[in-house]
Amino acid sequence: MNKKAILIILTALAVVLPFFTGAYVLSIFISIFVFLSLSLSWDMMLRTGQLSFGTAGFFGIGAYASALAVANLGLNPILSIILGGLFSAIIAFALGFVVLRLREIYFAITTLALTHVFSVIIRNLSDITGGASGTILPNAIFNGDPKLIYWAILLITFMVIGISEMFKRTKIRFAINSIRNDETTAKSSGIDVFKYLLLVFVITSAIQGVIGAFYAQQFAFVNPESTFSLNFLLLPIAMALVGGIYTTSGPIIGALILGLISEYLKLLIPYGHLVVYGVIIVLVVLFLPEGIFKSVKKLFASKDNVGSDINAQS
């Protein structure tokens, strides 16, 4: 069976899943798709050679933009998700002119600090944002219907996968790879480094904003503590590392494996499952440093080579 057929089957299975399962399984997959999209967006930025720790920050401001637009302006929740993405993109565009001048650890630390700064601003604009207590919405999106919520996040996830693949398949890929490998060479080849970095930063921040907005609408609330939680940074990174970075498949595999393992372990070992979960992540990172996707791919490739060598010898 070729790759295309497998992808079509997997996509079809993902689409029809709500007809064969209940709200609990759907809620697990909804959560997996949320973190999968965040993981992919983090990886897309990493492909430029920039380690961004701003995932939780842009997730949070997207969530707030969406929630406040619904609560205060009565905007349609679906439109508010788009607004969340746009708002994060605008903020990223403005901040990009400053932070994208920085490189390596300085860029990483500054983007991490942004999350804290956003959270402090939100807390202090209490008349608009509800301050530390946050804001609640009258209703969850689609009145909490798990099937519709699942299909909505599935659609968003497909779009994120599409953007990631676009980064891998179009001309942008040459610019991004070149910037990551050697910025000076990229510049001397005529690549506008800043333009490409800004483009990727804005697109990935917009994705994070959309996901944050979706999350806020799914649970019908935002508050600084939960919405700017570092879980929205650390888990996506862990998923990308486990699955394999610089690819679309890596974060997808990482999110599916860690998302499912986390839930399974919880049911199996109610006390202490987080320890086992942590140990699994550490072991994968230690022994499969390229991630599961690339390691498995290499394993099959070496088997094929052995097979073809044997055939050649015989």
């Binding site: 209940g22 709200a23 609990y24 759907l26 809620s27 697990i28 909804i30 959560s31 949320v34 807390r123 209490s126 509800g130 301050g131 530390a132 207590s133 946050g134 804001t135 609640i136 209703n139 969850a140 909490g144 798990p146 999350y215 799914q218 649970f219 019908a220 609330f221 508050n223 600084p224 503590e225 939960s226 939680s229 879980n231 839930e263 919880k266 109610p270 006390y271 499952h273 987080l274």
Partner: protein, 412 residues
């Protein structure tokens, strides 16, 4: 021959019918709990729930049926807490929901709880936002922990009573030191509002609080830990009552630095969500006042508290260290009492029974239901004022549960 065949067939039929009936009778009543099991509050609350269920089953169960407790870890993550409700409702098909803690997690669970509308007795989550999210119509929802605004008001009532009982005590000048994060900022807003009300002769602090000042500090839990600037401000203000709202990590260093700069208010009050383990063993802890729902010293004045303490230690081989332990026990016992009173699992009957159920809890107070600002079914409305004396937490207010009298003034 035919007769004996007939008898055998009839005996089998009878046995089958009896067996199925007994099977039906033994179908357990399922209670679904969602707690953060990786945290001491959730773990001890779950331990206490297991104790309560074990006691109920030993006594013959409820309505002739055993009780089964199904626990799912919320991991302190909103999406996990919401998924836990979905699992309990659709996979385990529980009859009732109980739990849990963290307002953030609970806010994410509320859309799911509203979808299933099963009778829910919730122990934690104090944010008034959770109350707003539940709304006035949810007659199936019972909330046990006092809401944030009720806690603030109860301190005012408590201090009023203490001042009345001990005329030498004065709390006219209040200084609040608050950590700059969400918890501290909320505390400051609540106190500032109460101070404003008091200045107009209204609210719980009316008649006792005359002046109020606040200053923020960076909590040791958030990378801070130097409180000297804030403590100097407090010293210059010379308050009668000094309160700090931060985290357990601040408790000991703040006391040490206060002593170092010679700051000695007459009343030194700490209001963190939890205290460091063995804080009472630190000699600086003596006469420090704290707020809480429970103290181990309640064993001296309450038989229920003593029974709970002994049974918990026997079952789990550890001492309860947080009020979420007796609160978790109360959660199950109160629900069980309501079910027994209703005599059925029918929703309306259980709701009606719970509304009129009174349960003498190991927290000292009797749990009974009354409306709060928004919801119909609120349980506890007051916190307690406690004081460390000789290494032990004692209740000093409400007086009916007091295990000792207040030691005043605070001194090094």
């Amino acid at each position: 021959m035919k007769k004996s065949y007939l008898l055998i067939v009839l005996s089998f039929l009878l046995a089958f019918v009896l067996f199925s009936m007994s099977g039906m009778a033994q179908e357990p009543i399922k209670i679904g709990a969602v707690n953060p099991l990786g945290d001491i509050t959730g773990r001890q609350s779950t331990n206490a729930m297991e104790l309560a269920v074990a006691e109920i089953n030993e006594a013959g169960g409820l309505l002739g049926r055993p009780v089964e407790l199904i626990v799912v870890d919320s991991e302190f993550r909103p999406e996990k807490g919401a998924a836990a409700i979905e699992k309990l409702a659709t996979v385990d098909e529980v009859d009732f929901f109980v739990g849990g803690m963290s307002s953030g997690v609970h806010l994410a669970q509320i859309p799911s709880l509203k979808k299933y509308k099963k009778v829910t007795v919730w122990a934690g989550a104090a944010s008034h936002k959770a109350e707003e999210a539940i709304g006035a119509d949810a007659d199936w929802y019972f909330h046990l922990h006092p809401w944030d605004y009720q806690q603030g008001a109860s301190y005012g009532v408590g201090w009023n009573a203490i001042v009345k009982e001990n005329p030498e005590i004065d709390i006219a000048r209040v200084f609040l030191a608050y950590e700059e994060g969400a918890f501290g900022s909320d505390s400051y807003k609540a106190y500032a509002a109460m101070a404003e009300q008091a200045s107009e002769g209204k609210g719980a602090f009316a008649g006792v609080m005359e002046e109020f000042k606040g200053a923020s500090f960076k909590s040791a839990a958030m990378g801070g830990g130097d409180y000297r600037a804030m403590l100097q401000q407090a010293k210059e203000y010379n308050p009668d009552l000094f309160i700090w709202a931060g985290y357990d990590a601040d408790a000991i260093p703040m006391l040490g630095q206060a002593r170092e700069i010679g700051f000695e208010p007459n009343l030194y009050v700490g209001a963190p969500p939890g205290w460091p383990a063995n804080f009472g063993r630190n000699p600086l802890s003596d006469k420090v006042i704290l707020y809480g729902m429970w103290a181990p010293a309640l064993n001296e004045v309450s038989d229920v508290a003593k029974h709970f303490w002994d049974a918990y230690v026997e079952m789990h081989d550890e001492e309860p260290a947080t009020y979420f332990a007796p609160l978790g026990y109360t959660n199950i016992k109160f629900l069980a009492k309501g079910i027994e009173k209703a005599g059925t699992l029918e929703k309306e009957a259980v709701i009606s029974a719970l509304k009129s159920t009174k349960y003498v809890s190991p927290l000292g107070s009797t749990l009974e239901i009354s409306p709060s600002n928004i919801i119909q079914n609120q349980g506890f409305t007051r916190q307690k004022i406690l004081q460390y004396q000789d290494g032990k937490q004692h209740v000093i207010w409400p007086f009916e549960f007091a295990t000792t009298e207040i030691e005043y003034p605070f001194s090094w």
